[in-house]
Symmetry: C2
Subunit: 236 residues, 2 copies
Amino acid sequence: MKKTKKYEQIQGYVKKRIQTGKYPVDTYLPSEHDLCNQFDTTRTTVRKALDELLREGFIQKEHGRGSKVLERGKSLGLLTIKGFSGAIDYNVKTVVTEEPKIVEWDPVIPFSLTEEEKKSPCVYFQRVRHINGTPVVLENNWYAKNALKVIGSNEFVEGSFFKTLSQDYLIEIMGAEQELKAKTAGIDVAKKLNIDPEDPILHISVRFRTSRPELNLYGDLYCHTAEYPIRNSYFL
Amino acid sequence: MKKTKKYEQIQGYVKKRIQTGKYPVDTYLPSEHDLCNQFDTTRTTVRKALDELLREGFIQKEHGRGSKVLERGKSLGLLTIKGFSGAIDYNVKTVVTEEPKIVEWDPVIPFSLTEEEKKSPCVYFQRVRHINGTPVVLENNWYAKNALKVIGSNEFVEGSFFKTLSQDYLIEIMGAEQELKAKTAGIDVAKKLNIDPEDPILHISVRFRTSRPELNLYGDLYCHTAEYPIRNSYFL
DNA sequence: AAGTGGTCTAGACCACGCG
DNA sequence: GCGTGGTCTAGACCACTTT
């Protein structure tokens, strides 16, 4: 008795090969015709699989040429700072200022935790993102330890927690909710971002939903937007 | 020589009937089978049309029951303030503080205009959104007059410019780019929002892409987020 | 049992990119 | 001209909801 749909098999197969670099970024996937032969199916089914990957941002279709593998993470909504992605002009560095460790859940999180999360210990870490040597974003992160083990920052792929999840744990971000406020920095944040406590900063609280249903990632970001505003775009 | 694709015909037909209320909210569309007969086509094509409407947020599919018409405008990204949509607890009112009129393009717009836009006169209007009697958002809007005539605020459907575009002009928002900054209010903004010039506010610059390719809507928003933070969510 | 949407097959022809 | 993806046909069977 097979339960997994055929298009999900194909989708999963291609996704994994993209994530593990077997279909490298900027190369083209096998043609729809080839995938049909490989999986012994029809184009309708292969196209359904590729359409899903398109929506998830893994590939881009080019009429007459093929389906090109994209760099992953093209738009995690607000978490994209001007230049963070392309980053040609900018020199971006991420510094882990608090190593992942187990703490109590922080009441600053403005989302209601699930019962499972409340019962679980909480993993916390803090990072500061620098652009051209200037600290720009202070980022607190939490998640339930019962849903994902403690991952040391030495395991982070290119300093990125999300990239680590995607590449080493095959966990994808499925969506997010955010709450935005303009505030004055305050003493603690000002110190870490090297600004005046009276300077206005953008405070973002975010909950990321992942492909692992029991795992939510909570974020608490303080962005010094004066020089590097947050940019994002969305479609459809 | 026909050029329009069949699924676009069906998509357009259904969309128009939804927008004009001939398929009322919360009712079910004709079944895929019926639409096949009506347009003399196959389910593949009808489903493609409905899938597009699904992505655009017009309908919701229910396995075994049918495709239900949804209320439109479920998430225009950041333009959703906590409670603006559901708005049961909140009493939201929009006041037009500057009637639509023709002006020069304002250099505060941080996006580069197209050549057509530069050549066109510019339509400008300003609104203030109130929640429970408190002014919360000051909103400047611009668009190229060559792409859309001047629409007086008396034409606004329920005070909403976007609703007017959708219902009376059949123009849909296709996507947007945004830039966010935390700032201090400044004298002018502070006066209109009735706050202190030193208070932190969230400044959002946005460009909306519409289904009319030559028409972009530019916005410049000042949000007093202290009491009513901006909330949004996105998926996929 | 009847009706709906979800998945899938096995083809066809068209539009686009490239050599 | 060939290979690619885009659209479309004419069916089939399955899963879910309702009567």
